[in-house]
Symmetry: C2
């Protein structure tokens, strides 16, 4: 049977996801020792205070020394530097995984820095809230959600298996897929929705002052849902768009064409075209409810 316990887990980045995982590690007793690493001392202090780690450090190399599991949970733009800093310190046999929302770029940024014998198993627990930081985390965040692993073709099967078990213990349903495919699927299910939400909330902030205060007042009509999405972590999302550029631009292009067609239908009063689309979109909602994702 696959060993599910780790002796030393290094959490590089201890924000919403990292701290939620720390809580799972504690609850499930999956780590003899947790070390948290973050650039900001305040974040590390909070992590210690919340008993999310046994020790803390700002140095990734120190964090990974002696670790058998390394989980990177920082914004994507920090990956390349983290790879370089841990490359010499991480021991053969160690599993390195991450929780980033883009996967092809991760492999591109991390793999070259890791010595032979270190097992890279990129992962993406599809879960989150609009809140950030270690105090925003909670162990139930992952419950019943999907976790997508994108191991490279030459990944060690038992390392993949151990990461899979980890997320299953967090309550997740785990699947594996190709990194490029992951990035396409997430471009439409997550990245484009966030981009659109950020845009419309931005459009509203540019309105004349009087109109703007009323937008806030009467936000219950649909706009409010967008503001929740658009309150997500700015650096994390900046990095997602920069690192999944091609897939996001491709989906955005399709969306813009469809929106232009609707704009034209409104301008020319083509009610039947609008109604036809609006009926079609109901079916997708029903599929989501049937798939128990609603």
């Amino acid at each position: 049977m696959t060993e599910s316990r780790f002796s030393r887990v290094a959490l590089i980045g201890i924000g919403l996801i990292g701290s939620s995982l720390a809580r799972v590690l504690r609850r499930e007793k999956l780590a003899d020792e947790i070390v948290a690493c973050d650039r900001r001392q305040a974040t590390l202090d909070t992590a210690l205070q919340l008993d999310l780690a046994d020790s803390v450090t700002a140095d990734p190399a120190e964090a990974v020394a002696g670790a058998d599991l390394v989980v990177i949970g920082t914004p994507l733009s920090a990956y390349a530097e983290i790879g370089q800093r841990i490359g010499a310190a991480v021991a053969a046999g160690t599993i390195v995984t991450d929780v980033g929302s883009v996967k092809a770029a991760v492999i591109r940024d991390l793999k070259p820095s890791l010595p032979a014998g270190v097992h890279l198993v990129p992962g993406h627990p599809v879960a989150g809230t609009e809140h950030s930081g270690p105090e925003a985390g909670f162990a139930e965040l992952f419950q019943e959600r999907w976790c997508i692993l994108t191991p490279p073709a030459d990944a060690d099967p038992s390392a993949v298996e151990r990461v899979m078990r980890l997320w299953q213990r967090a309550g997740m349903k785990v699947v594996t897929m190709d990194a490029e495919h992951h990035d396409k699927v997430l471009a439409i299910t997550s990245h484009l929705p966030h981009l659109i939400a950020y845009t419309i909330v931005g459009t509203a902030t540019d309105l004349e002052e009087m109109l703007k205060s009323e937008v806030i007042k009467f936000s219950a009509g649909g706009f409010r849902d967008f503001t929740r999405i658009a309150a997500s972590d700015p650096v994390m999302w900046r990095d997602i768009f920069l690192n999944n550029r091609e897939a996001v631009l491709e989906m955005l292009q399709r969306f813009s064409e469809d929106l232009t067609a609707l704009q034209r239908a409104i301008r020319w009063g083509e009610g039947e075209k609008l109604e036809e689309l609006f009926r079609r979109t109901r079916a997708i909602r029903r599929s989501i409810i049937e798939a128990k994702q609603a």
Copy 2:
């Protein structure tokens, strides 16, 4: 003191909003008699079965005969015909109001048909769910939400007062504003968000089959919120876009320009532009939370 009880209330259209109002009228004992009118017999049968009306009819003229309050809750495209059909039957002194999401068009469509002495007080309770029909309604739908009345300049103040009281008894915070201004505010807070949600869900339904099934599976990443909005009533929303064309097209134009700017920033890797916007949108979310609309 303004009388808050009505002797006979005619509900023209008994869908989500009409049926929720019927439940409020029952709970608050605001009507001696409720008559429900709808084109579909099945809807009328349900209304009777749920005790939402004392009598039902498919004929608007019959419904408004003897009524002191008429509430129109049909899709906007039915208003002109309803106006023509009730014009000869509605008595002087009767208050005619509605619950439509567009207001300038209502006044344009209804006012000419109503005889002198009939008090037109257009209204918009800003509340709803993605469900439709009399069985989807509930009395608490309006609780703590805004209701916007857009009485014409020559409206009878005591009629406006009575409609205001009615929605207050439903638990709503009632404000009045100019119809054109209402239509602009709602274009950005409600109509544009719905249009965008319909579009992106439509874009997803056009994806290659394999990708599409995964969009449903991994919808939790943001897409799911859009599918809920895009499951709203197709005919109601078709009519909203056709009747608030100018304001929607104006807001859509602004949105498209902003989206194009973001698209360009992603293409050219301008991270600081993305991050700047993403920080700005968080502030709007905070304002909404402070305004207790979240």
